[in-house]
Each structure stands twice: as C-alpha cells, then as structure tokens.
Symmetry: C2
Subunit: 131 residues, 2 copies
Amino acid sequence: MTTPLEIVLSYHRAWTSQDFDLAMTYLADDMVCHAPAGRLVGAEAFRGFMEPFSQILVSSELVGSFGDETTAMLMYDTSTRPVADAPGAELHTVRDGKIVELRIIFDRLPFEQARTVAATRSAPPEGAQTE
Amino acid sequence: MTTPLEIVLSYHRAWTSQDFDLAMTYLADDMVCHAPAGRLVGAEAFRGFMEPFSQILVSSELVGSFGDETTAMLMYDTSTRPVADAPGAELHTVRDGKIVELRIIFDRLPFEQARTVAATRSAPPEGAQTE
C-alpha cells in the first residue's frame, strides 16, 4: 500500500516540476489548506494559490521528510524568481490515498517586499504625464 | 538512549513554558540557526532571537512531530501578543544529545504589520508639539 509520505512526495515532485495537473491528482476535491493568508477550501481554490507559486519556481530541494500512517511532513528550500531563498514546511493529512488537509508555512515578508519594489519600479516617475 | 525527537520536544516544552535557561541546556554552544532573517551562529546569538519570541507567547500547540536517528521536525501553532495566529516549523539536527543545527520557518509578515501599526500609534499626531 502506498504510504501518506509516498503520496505527499509524489505531489511534491509534481508541483516542483511545474506539472500542476499531475499534482492535482493527489489532492481530494474537498481538501482544506491552511496557508499564511488564511483557509482555502477545495482543490481548485488551492490550485489558484499554489500553481502561481510553482510557476515562479527556479529550483527546489527537499531538506526533511517524515510520515506515519495518516500524515506526512516536509521541509524544503526553494529559489523563486522574486525571492532567492524561500523555504517552506508542509504538514499533510492523507485519507484513502488523497491529501485531505494541508498546513503550509512560509515567510511572506520577502515576497511582499519584492512586490513593493516591483510596484515602485513600474509606477510612472513623479511629474510624468499619465494621460 | 534519548532520541533526537525527545531532546527536541524537551527543548520545545522549555521555551514554550518561557524557561529559556532550561531551553539552552538542549542547545550546543556552537549551534547554527537558519531563521527567516538569516543565519545565527552560537547558542547566545540564537537566544537573542528566540527568547524575545518566547516572552510574547500567549499559548502554543504542537500539531506535528517526527524524528529519526539524527534529526527531528516539529510543526506548531502559537498565539502571541502581537499576532494571534503564528504557526512555525522547525527541523533540528541533534548530535551527542544537543541540538547543533536548527532551521526555523514562520511568516514574518503579520509581525511586521503589527510593528507598523504600533509605530503609527506611538508616533505623535501630526501637528503635535514634540518639544
């Protein structure tokens, strides 16, 4: 039988390879994700949060992975286009071979700072005509 | 023999009980911590980062804990005075009964936002005399 950790590692390999269609096959339709910004209900809502992150991924490396009969826990480093050093940790609950609950922790601050810098750069210079 | 997970859980109970002197007994003097803001070298430098966090703690709850022969991984929820919902994840490397390396992940954004709000509140109102 496939263990929760094997399922979670397959999910992890899929999204870090930017194959989110494959990643979705490991998620229960009614899964719940607890993310830094709040609670996401359903695999489609989760996809709306996680797929854009997978698309800015430059590289990733798993640094820890553990599991038991019902749960699995990962820690990984990622490098992304806006933020070079963006580690994450996830705790998954697996039922009937699908991920039903996922807690994800990462630091939003450098992403917020990168967004602010990007917004400043794309704003018209002071005094520029905007019409 | 005490396992890495037992040592890490003892460390966790100590700091979440705000007994940082006890927490320090589980850390190697030359331990290294990888925190969101960067690398901290030595148990004293780590204490300067972690003890202030333990002092703003209101409550905490362990949500996941795993370990093997050399490492242990925790995920926990905390409630703190400035931020009500502040989960964290840690991956520890243990050698000769002491924590020698610690990766810690949490979201700095709500703490930064709370600091900004506090700074705004403590600033004198506009037009106020400051002398």
